[in-house]
């Protein structure tokens, strides 16, 4: 108990001394993307050559490597960008409280102290609507936002007015971030105006809550569709674009990520607004998280390596990172049971 109290004190002190952590979380220095008119010329010009995209991604892990204290720092950065997630039919308040405790204390305190990062938390906790209230309660005072999946997640096929209402309910319940799912059929049938209008409506319903647009890239068929859907959602005011619900058969991949990042870069170049990126599903290894961070750094720049512009949607990634961090601190390889369950 004494130790915990000490840790809390340290965290408070650091938070007081370094307000930018919270500042970035509040998006203060990133002007929120207001969206633009739908520019169909721009949308239709988007290209993604699958073979070339895959080649870039295949060589990336060989081109970038971080070692020793750099690796530890990068892994800590990855943790700060995790949307710690539970999206299961059997979620209960108890389960969510446990997850939130893990969000506050993602890594064993002695390890974080050794790294000099005692205040490290994850980026957000991500739950279904009914779990927002217990999550908000459990995270009170931590500064960690609650994100809720919405709009008939994961298929997004419930009536439009209910999807919009669901967003409003979730915001009312305290969700600071809303992860919406787009209608895949609008992409698959080329109804870009329809997609734009839908996204606009979702954005409006979110109000001050930030909106992440889940493209469900595994169901869009082609990388070109991914590129176009990314642009349309950004034009319609998405704060983040996100790959997947985690429920598709193929979730986040590096090629899909590269295409979405290039769309984000182009959108920033043309409008000046930074849109965030969230790969979700399938990222479970510490090494993968390093590759994603390198991809963000090389394609978009260092500004995108903060939780206000980058999140991992992941549930099991944290466990692997914890083991790597313990190895960094002790020099001995770790075991999963030495770390608290999420």
């Amino acid at each position: 108990m004494v130790k915990t109290a000490g840790k809390t004190a340290i965290r408070s002190a650091i938070q007081a001394a370094r307000p930018q952590d919270d500042a970035t979380r509040q998006h203060d220095d990133v002007a929120r993307n207001p969206g633009t008119a739908l520019d169909m010329d721009w949308v239709m010009r988007a290209r993604a050559n699958r073979s070339a995209v895959e080649r870039r991604c295949a060589t990336l892990p060989g081109r970038r490597s971080v070692k020793k204290e750099y690796q530890a720092a990068w892994l800590a950065r990855a943790i700060s960008c995790i949307d710690l997630t539970t999206l299961a039919g059997d979620d209960t308040p108890g389960r969510v409280q446990r997850l939130c405790a893990k969000a506050r204390q993602p890594v064993r305190a002695d390890i974080l102290d050794a790294l000099g990062l005692p205040d490290l938390t994850v980026g957000a906790v991500c739950v279904y609507h009914d779990m927002i209230e217990p999550a908000v309660a459990a995270l009170k005072g931590s500064g960690i936002p609650v994100a809720a999946v919405s709009t008939g997640f994961p298929a997004g096929l419930s009536p439009m007015h209910l999807r919009v209402a669901e967003i409003e309910e979730s915001v009312k319940a305290g969700a600071a971030e809303i992860d919406i799912v787009i209608s895949r059929r609008k992409v698959l049938t080329g109804d870009w105006q329809g997609l734009y209008d839908e996204m606009r409506a979702f954005r409006q319903a979110c109000g001050d809550a930030h909106v992440k647009a889940i493209l469900a890239t595994g169901e869009l068929g082609t990388l070109q569709n991914v590129a176009r859907a990314s642009l349309v959602c950004m034009m319609a005011g998405a704060d983040f674009i996100k790959t997947s619900t985690g429920k598709e058969s193929v979730n986040a991949t590096l090629p899909v990520s590269l295409v979405m990042l290039r769309a984000i870069r182009e959108y920033h170049d043309r409008t000046g607004y930074r849109v965030g990126y969230k790969p979700a599903g399938g990222i479970s290894k510490a090494k993968d998280s390093l590759t994603y961070l390198a991809l963000m750094k090389d394609e978009l720049g260092d500004r995108w390596l903060r939780p206000d512009l980058f999140r991992f949607g992941a549930s099991s990634l944290l466990g692997d990172i914890e083991r790597q961090l313990e190895h960094h601190v002790t020099g001995a390889y770790s075991a999963s049971w030495r770390h608290a369950l999420a």
Binding site: N49, A52, V53, G62, R64, A73, W74, G116, K297
Partner: protein, 780 residues
């Protein structure tokens, strides 16, 4: 830096690959190396230092080869060759397989050695060079295994002298040694002076594989040692390096009956159409020009962007360049390593600094370490006339210009002396597949760059050299078919002074551009029959007639674009019209040669035309099994304009035996008819005139072989030259061909049986075609 600080800065930090094992390998060998000759390392002699260009550290002392060393190596290879060939394909396959496995087992050692000696990033040596080396030995183990069944008539050339460059030291060694050994040759190889270590390590692997002594010999040293190898008693020279040195080798090997393949420089175009995936095309440039610091013969060094997207594309490119990381090649997070040597770095700098005020120079905003490094550089807005658009820089420097239409892109792309590789970026399959075949290059990558595989032939056209490496196409450079033939006796014209009045005088002219043309010089030679009777006059063509004929041939480019079916029909029609005049031709040949074989020669000629009519639409090329999702097409294209000195001894059949395959494959020909018996060829143009042969496709000259051969072989607009003359001109042809490094096929004074199988077939079709490898990766 503390973890906390890095957590904020998110820098990459150092990620060094350990050099310890490679340094230990060097130290274990005393850091002094002799040659590898006859299965053993010799005592080091006079030595020079090989250095790590990134640090300047001396890695080892290497022996400078002497003539005695080269002679000993060639003698060892000569002695070993019969046994190695007699071992048989499957026997040799076991050794090639063992070498492939040993390369894999020692992969990291080889990669680190390569990076230390050359300066290339460890990522490249580890992930690209060394895996491709192993792949090359695997692939050629297969060719050795299948040689008895798939190439039953093929035999080894003998001893191969091989000289490889410093940019891909071990990979180029593999490209040279694997096919040579597979076909039963033995080799004497010289690695580059700056990068000998992996070749010496490979020598060690040869010992571990138990390779018979003398099969592989490695001699180290500078260019002087290369010259000694070229001058030595070898049957083949294979060289990869600069065009200037390649030209000297062409001259030095001329007339020595040495098989030669050259893989030389390039200034490869990288064409970006407005409908390309621009970001991927930018990334492709990283692989094209910043791969191995741009020290790549096939580097995409000349960027051509469609005008409408050029500003956008260049902006994206500059952004990407600024993200490149230049530094310690052993660092695992480096994109561009060291330049191989300070001399080379200074050369790059001098070329760039001399370019003057033209263009917009952007240097990547990277941290540049002290020492032998050069920043990734873009010089945009140059015109075709700029020296930097023409000269090979061989460094991380990209030059760029714009184009308006696909045809203009092709025009600018082909406006170069080189012809090694090209990239085409477009999401439109129509654009990409239309443009790719029109590019003067041995390799074209559609939506990609610098893709290599052992199954996909690699090599150039124009001054980028000739010969292919990889795939079955590459095996022809290391094998021959058919046995040794006798020396060809010079065939002299008959003399005489008897003249009889003709019913009506006949005037034979040259045949140029589909028209009969008087010789420029205005001279003719009297042609006598065996009994000394005057048969008529043959015009004496001079250099200007050659010029006119080549111009006509160049102009008849439509023939190369005609369908194979169309060409076949024309060739069959020639046969039909020749057959209709068989008796007349037979009588003329008999009288001219004083023999009785005229009828048989005409019959054989008609037959041969049918053969090439048959072949016209059956030389298909191949879809190579390259390890990509896509296809690598080894296309067979015409060479372009072929100059041919026709056989003297068979006035009609000889002409048809060279013109037939040439035009069947879509070439245009300037044929110099039999010197002693020219009239049959001049009669033959009447047949051509009546057979729908477009003007300029076949041009026929008569005159002095030795004189016309020199002009033809030196002509920069002739793509290949063949000589089957009985005059002693093979050496002169090969020497003169050095000018534009055109392909040559000469008889070296040896006879060929024009009436038998040696007079037609695969060898002719291979000589009449260039292999162009078009990589088409795809993915919806």
């Amino acid at each position: 830096m503390t973890v906390r600080e890095i957590f904020e800065s998110m820098e990459y930090g150092p990620a060094p690959e350990s050099a310890a094992d490679a340094l230990a390998w060097i130290a274990d060998r005393g850091a002094r190396f002799g040659h590898f000759i006859d299965g053993a390392f010799s005592e080091p002699g006079e030595t020079f230092e090989t250095r790590n260009p990134a640090t300047g550290d001396v890695l080892a002392e290497i022996t400078q080869g002497s003539k005695a060393d080269v002679d000993a190596a060639v003698a060892a290879a000569r002695a070993a060759q019969p046994g190695w060939e007699a071992l048989g394909g499957p026997g040799r396959a076991r050794f090639l397989y063992a070498l492939a496995r040993l390369v894999q087992k020692h992969a990291r050692l080889l990669a680190v050695l390569e990076t230390m000696d050359n300066g290339k990033p460890i990522r490249e040596s580890r992930d690209i060079d060394i895996p491709l080396v192993a792949r090359h030995f695997y692939h050629h183990a297969g060719h050795a295994q299948l040689m008895p069944t798939e190439m039953p008539d093929a035999r080894a050339l003998g001893v191969c002298g091989q000289i490889v460059p410093w940019n891909f030291p071990l990979l180029m060694l593999a490209w040279k040694i694997a096919p040579a050994l597979a076909m039963g040759n033995t080799v004497v190889l010289k690695p580059a002076e700056w990068t000998p270590l992996t070749a010496l390590c490979f020598a060690d692997l040869c010992r571990q594989a138990g390779l018979p002594k003398g099969v592989v010999n490695i001699v180290t040293g500078d260019g002087a040692v290369g010259e000694m190898i070229v001058a030595s008693d070898v049957d083949k020279i294979a060289f990869t390096g600069s065009t200037a040195v390649g030209r000297r080798i062409r001259e030095a090997t001329a007339g020595r009956r040495i098989s030669l393949t050259l893989e030389l420089g390039g200034k490869s175009p990288y064409i970006v159409f407005e409908d390309a995936d621009l970001d991927s095309a930018v990334e492709g440039l990283v692989d094209a020009i910043w791969f191995n610091g741009g020290q790549v013969c096939c580097a995409g060094s000349r960027l051509l962007v469609q005008e409408g997207v050029a500003p956008d594309f260049h902006a994206r490119l500059r952004t990407r360049m600024d993200k490149l990381r230049v530094g310690d090649p052993l660092d695992k997070a480096i994109d561009v390593g060291a330049i191989v040597d300070a001399k080379q770095r200074d050369r790059i700098a001098a070329l760039v600094d001399a370019h003057g005020a033209e263009g917009d120079v952007h240097r990547a905003a990277c941290n540049l370490p002290e020492g032998c490094f050069y920043p990734p550089t873009l010089i945009a807005g140059l015109s075709s006339a700029s020296p930097l658009m023409q000269e090979e820089i061989f460094g991380p420097v990209l030059v760029s210009t714009t184009f308006r239409t696909p045809s203009e892109a092709v025009q600018i792309a082909n406006d170069t002396r080189y012809g090694l590789a090209a990239s085409v970026w477009s999401e439109n399959i129509n654009t990409a597949l239309d443009v790719a075949p029109k590019l003067a290059a041995g390799v074209v990558w559609v939506n990609g760059s610098n893709m290599f595989d052992a199954a996909a032939p690699f090599g150039g056209v124009r001054e980028s050299g000739f010969g292919r490496e990889g795939g079955p196409e590459g095996l022809t450079a290391y094998s021959r078919s058919g046995g040794e033939t006798d020396m060809l006796k010079p065939v002299a014209p008959f003399a005489g002074d008897k003249a009889e009045p003709q019913p009506v005088d006949r005037t034979a002219k040259l045949y140029i551009g589909g028209k009969q043309a008087r010789p420029d010089g205005g001279y003719a030679r009297n042609v006598f029959d065996a009994k000394g009777g005057l048969m008529g006059q043959a015009p004496i063509a001079n250099r200007k007639d050659v010029r006119n004929a080549v111009e006509a041939a160049r102009g008849a480019a439509g023939w190369s674009g005609a369908t194979a079916h169309n060409r076949a029909q024309v060739i069959y029609y020639i046969a039909e019209n020749l057959a209709a005049r068989a008796e007349e031709f037979a009588a003329r040949i008999d009288r001219m040669t004083g023999g009785t074989g005229g009828a048989a020669e005409v019959t054989a000629s008609v037959q041969r035309l049918f053969t090439y009519g048959a072949w016209a639409d059956k030389v298909d090329g191949r879809a190579a099994q390259a390890p990509v999702r896509g296809i690598a097409l080894a296309l067979r294209e015409s060479c372009g304009v072929i100059g041919a000195l026709c056989p003297d001894e068979a006035p009609l059949l000889g002409l048809i035996s060279v013109v037939g395959p040439a035009i069947a494959m879509g070439n245009r020909v300037v044929a110099v008819a039999s010197e002693p018996f020219p009239l049959a060829a001049l009669d033959f143009y009447q047949v051509l005139d009546t057979s729908d042969v477009p003007g300029g496709v076949v041009n026929i000259l008569t005159g002095d072989h030795a004189e016309l051969a020199k002009t033809l072989a030196a002509h920069a607009d002739v793509d290949a030259v063949w000589s089957f003359s009985s005059s002693d001109i093979s050496g002169a042809v090969e020497r003169a061909a050095a000018g534009n490094l055109k392909r040559t096929w000469v008889n070296n004074g040896r006879a060929r049986d024009w009436t038998g199988p040696a007079g037609e077939g695969r060898a002719f079709l291979d000589a009449a075609t260039e292999v162009k490898t078009v990589w088409v990766p795809y993915g919806a």
